[in-house]
Symmetry: C2
Subunit: 261 residues, 2 copies
């Protein structure tokens, strides 16, 4: 199963972003692959070789049972004091600290951490949900690359197709207002497209052209996916990706070479 190689040609073909809305709730133990393939069948669509599957992490986290009942969290005095200043839930702050490797900034009611995975984001990526009538925190998957690889494997078992999988979350960004979607788990596709050393139509050697295609795919997916639409996933068709093992690590700049933390 050879993926379309971008090395051969990047002549532009149309890209399609096909939403996969789910009707029901995702519960721990559910198969995301089964759910998404059922949506495709209902819509009389089929996965094709070359498709990319993009899934918001929240459904993956829920299927993996990454839920914490906030009633079970006893925040530290420090978390209580800081949360109180900004009318935040101290249990969420406490949990965010537990899910973090480092606190990057804690200011003006904003807590930016580096998660155990190495993501820099607000509150360690914790969402709050009203699942089961109680308030639960939804954590990021323990290992989003593994989650992506598992979903890829499950889809292959059921369809015979090797489809790259990208798991995403919405993060805030330095310098820019608004959230955007980022890749947090990647399987079957190279996250970066490296055009260094290639030449543009003028023969000028491209210098800094390493493009974060996995993040751009996440953003394209973000345009059709969302909480309000109950659309946690989509298929992206027509993108000439470079196949590879994947792995989000390639997208994470090491602290030592990062000028902004």
């Amino acid at each position: 199963m050879k993926a379309p190689s971008s090395r051969r040609s990047r002549s532009s073909s149309e890209l399609r972003v096909i939403p996969l809305p789910l009707s029901g709730e995702i519960l721990p133990g559910d198969s995301i692959a089964d759910k998404l393939l059922a949506v495709l069948r209902r819509r009389r669509l089929r996965l094709q070789s070359g498709d990319i599957l993009v899934v918001k992490h929240k459904v993956v986290s829920k299927a993996e049972g990454r839920l914490v009942d906030l009633a079970t969290i006893l925040p530290s005095e420090e978390s209580v004091a800081w949360a109180k200043q900004y009318a935040l839930d101290p249990r969420v702050i406490e949990l965010a600290l537990r899910e973090s490797r480092t606190v990057i900034r804690r200011k003006n009611g904003v807590l930016i951490t580096e998660t155990h995975h190495g993501f820099l984001c607000a509150n360690s990526g914790i969402d709050v949900s009203n699942v089961d009538g109680g308030r639960h925190a939804v954590l990021l998957p323990e290992n989003p690359d593994r989650s992506a690889a598992n979903l890829r494997r499950d889809v292959k078992k059921r369809t015979g197709l090797s489809i790259p999988v990208i798991i995403t979350d919405s993060f805030g960004r330095p310098w820019r207002e608004g959230l955007a979607e980022f890749a947090i788990g990647i399987a079957g596709i190279r996250p970066l497209r490296d055009d260094r050393g290639r030449r543009d139509p003028h023969g000028y050697r491209l210098k800094a052209s390493v493009e974060a295609v996995a993040d751009e795919l996440a953003c394209a997916a973000g345009l059709v996916c969302g909480k309000l639409e109950r659309t946690p996933a989509c298929v992206i068709r027509g993108f000439r990706y470079d196949s590879g093992a994947g792995g989000v690590r390639e997208l994470l700049r090491p602290a030592a070479s990062d000028l902004f933390r």
Copy 2:
């Protein structure tokens, strides 16, 4: 000409990203609207109400004559010394400093500035091109929002359609490897989609859901556009945007509330 309002319904429809490859070179004074509409005609496509036009800034800059012959730039001693350390072109560094309001970081051969427009990016967004057999610097448009509004107006004159326009550039990002595409000029569409106060399917009030849709549209466009493809523009069809005047300022976090500069 009412744009599809996302307030009515966000039920997910398919998104299409249609590349508009140009065959020739863009010269100062060229009409980008004419060029792009000609591509559409050749491909037997028509703009439709609801479409969004996304254009990489480089062709806009060229059409606006934002080219500087590098031979005319006399770099300061400081620029020469710093560029030499990292084998960079001191004239590009000099020009980047002239195009900047503030130097944000200058380290390890990386110069991050805040441009006169307020963008934080490497080398003030200056590209180098081999136009006319000589080495030229391509500057960002003087006022990319105005460039977007002009293109929107030109398209309306020729087609009768009010099509939002987003002009983009590839920027590096703190914390993440690889470049991604960002909106730098916006007309006819609200850059942020503000879902604060709306409720998710569980009735949970969405807290931080301000989404930078203009940047996500830029990224979706980045997947089909590129230097190697000679595809500087695309049409995005099927996105339920909120119409508005536009303006990139909404996407630029004021320095005072930015924790990372």
